[in-house]
Symmetry: C2
Amino acid sequence: MGDLVSPFTMRLDFQRGVLDSCNNVIQRRLSDMRGMYLDEEATEKAIEGGDPLLYDVYQYDVPFENGQLLVVTSVIQPGKVGDEYYMTKGHFHSKEETAEVYVGLRGQGYLLLETRGGEFKALPVEPGTVAYIPPYWAHRMVNVGREEFIFFGVYPADAGHNYGDIEKRGFVKVLVERDGRPTLLLNPRHEMR
Amino acid sequence: MGDLVSPFTMRLDFQRGVLDSCNNVIQRRLSDMRGMYLDEEATEKAIEGGDPLLYDVYQYDVPFENGQLLVVTSVIQPGKVGDEYYMTKGHFHSKEETAEVYVGLRGQGYLLLETRGGEFKALPVEPGTVAYIPPYWAHRMVNVGREEFIFFGVYPADAGHNYGDIEKRGFVKVLVERDGRPTLLLNPRHEMR
């Protein structure tokens, strides 16, 4: 039966995104995402200027076994690197046949998704949006608003993360600000494959 | 790869519990739970008096495959059958090594849990409570408040439901009102096994 887990509860602050008593907190700064934003000059300048915090992840780890579930909240700060909005690293699941569910709690964002076959989707997420990330779709969240973008997620504990492919080339499209509005552009790095 | 699913979003109304565009809505009336409340006389009287609605379930069905996830909200009405608060049927998962996550959205309730070995837990759930139901724990939600008790849930799509054992004997304890307060009592039917 693997490691037994006892039932437990946590408090989720819908306005701050904090999961109290979670046992795995991750902070991503811009230096953790070097090379993932198109504008490398803006990236280096911002890192020298203080290396801004991009997002926090609060996760409750349970045994990474099939049947267990991981609960996670993420708080993406508002901001841009050059014209490109702050975003999460994005990943495929290592076990690609696993889904994920996100629930928007605060702020305005987009969920970017793509398959290995090159299919791409961008879905708006706001408070009350439940997004279904099916098996085999890489996923990344992007904050396009002026306040923190906060969402809750659940995914299978044996899913794992595969950042490698996305770190190298990014998604099919990038989400940038044009005339004050979020705009999808083809990612030149992706085409260069 | 089984049936492919495309990414999609739904709207979750945190105040009403409704998942728009869900494809599986279940209504449970008291007649659907005959024999599950201790007071059989009160049960029959209430069924004759109009067969009250106990709860609604809104679920988005995806292929029932390992790795997929089911998203569900439940709305339990306030009320009692005799002294016993309105509750869900309660179940083990058919695939018992699967967990479930609940998030309280509105109202006041309790999550009752038990193992086949006779371990029992009762955890309060209110808005912002995230409850982890580990593998191998049967679970039931109970509305102990004066308004609707609403919660969101995610569980593995291959989990399945096993109502049989709980339908026959109930949980180790029942949640009844005593002096205006929710009180746990040993379930005499459970002891009679």
